[in-house]
Subunit: 150 residues, 2 copies
Amino acid sequence: MDKEQGRAILKRLKLKITPKRLEVMSCLGNEPLYLSADEVWQRIKLRVASIGLPTVYRILDELVAAGVITRIFQADRKQYYFLCTNQGHHHHFVCESCRRVEDLEQCVLGEGALETVQRSGGHVTSHILQINGVCGACSGPHQEASCRTA
Amino acid sequence: MDKEQGRAILKRLKLKITPKRLEVMSCLGNEPLYLSADEVWQRIKLRVASIGLPTVYRILDELVAAGVITRIFQADRKQYYFLCTNQGHHHHFVCESCRRVEDLEQCVLGEGALETVQRSGGHVTSHILQINGVCGACSGPHQEASCRTA
DNA sequence: GATCAAATGAAAATAATTTTTATTTGTACC
DNA sequence: GGTACAAATAAAAATTATTTTCATTTGATC
Ligand SMILES: [Mn+2]
Ligand SMILES: [Mn+2]
Ligand SMILES: [Zn+2]
Ligand SMILES: [Zn+2]
């Protein structure tokens, strides 16, 4: 993701185009990994004059609300964020070892899921689906360098 | 869930049978709702001599690790807990309005989901699946008393 | 009943996240 | 290019869920 793509997204969302927002998107959009708010902050600080951690939180929240960024769920009580440029509804495979996030080809939520709910008069508004495991690189025989062991 | 069922679970897990553990299980096991650690604490305090909040956290964590209790994911940064006596792998529908949790009939994770991962040499260890919406009682025309509006 | 590891209470510590308020900046308009 | 104003940000402090520590109590086993 380059700055132009970031600009287009902000324009579409009717958000002001600011350097901080572009940096956050660029930071997350060029990593195949999920990051915490603090990690995003640490990385941006190296390349930008100055930015506060609350600003990072605010931007991340905005972008999650807008659907640009996805939350990744982990057992620790931190929030993690991932940006994928893939359009359309889909879900993710998350590597427990190297933090890599990969797209699943389609929403694997079957029709059977909704039947039970609808039969009892309710309706579905959203769903969370995340598959955890160990990615190919981390599972491989020689443990590629790109994968650190947790 | 009564005290006897709680005893049996603790025995199976090789955990000491203590009044506090039985109370936590009884509290969660007799509500069709998810609760936070603090809410479990507040309810138990009314009925038991004394119990500390850290103890509630410790017990909840143990029971989650043992698979007896399920975590419910919400947007706020709190952890929520739900106990269902249903055996076997399954997932849940969660009402945004009244906090009710209902079982989905089966794991709706299709085979297609795992293909992508396996094709690239990785393997799956776990998955998170939660369906959010509004339950039948909360959707109904007369908003039954059992459902409070959030 | 004695023993000892496991469980708990109480208080303090931790750390992620949010709020507040003053200041700065991007955009629309001229 | 300059102005006006709402939106965005910095900095510091506050909040709060959760965890840790350590002294004390308790359940299981013999
Ligand atoms: Mn994706
Ligand atoms: Mn269930
Ligand atoms: Zn990996
Ligand atoms: Zn409901």
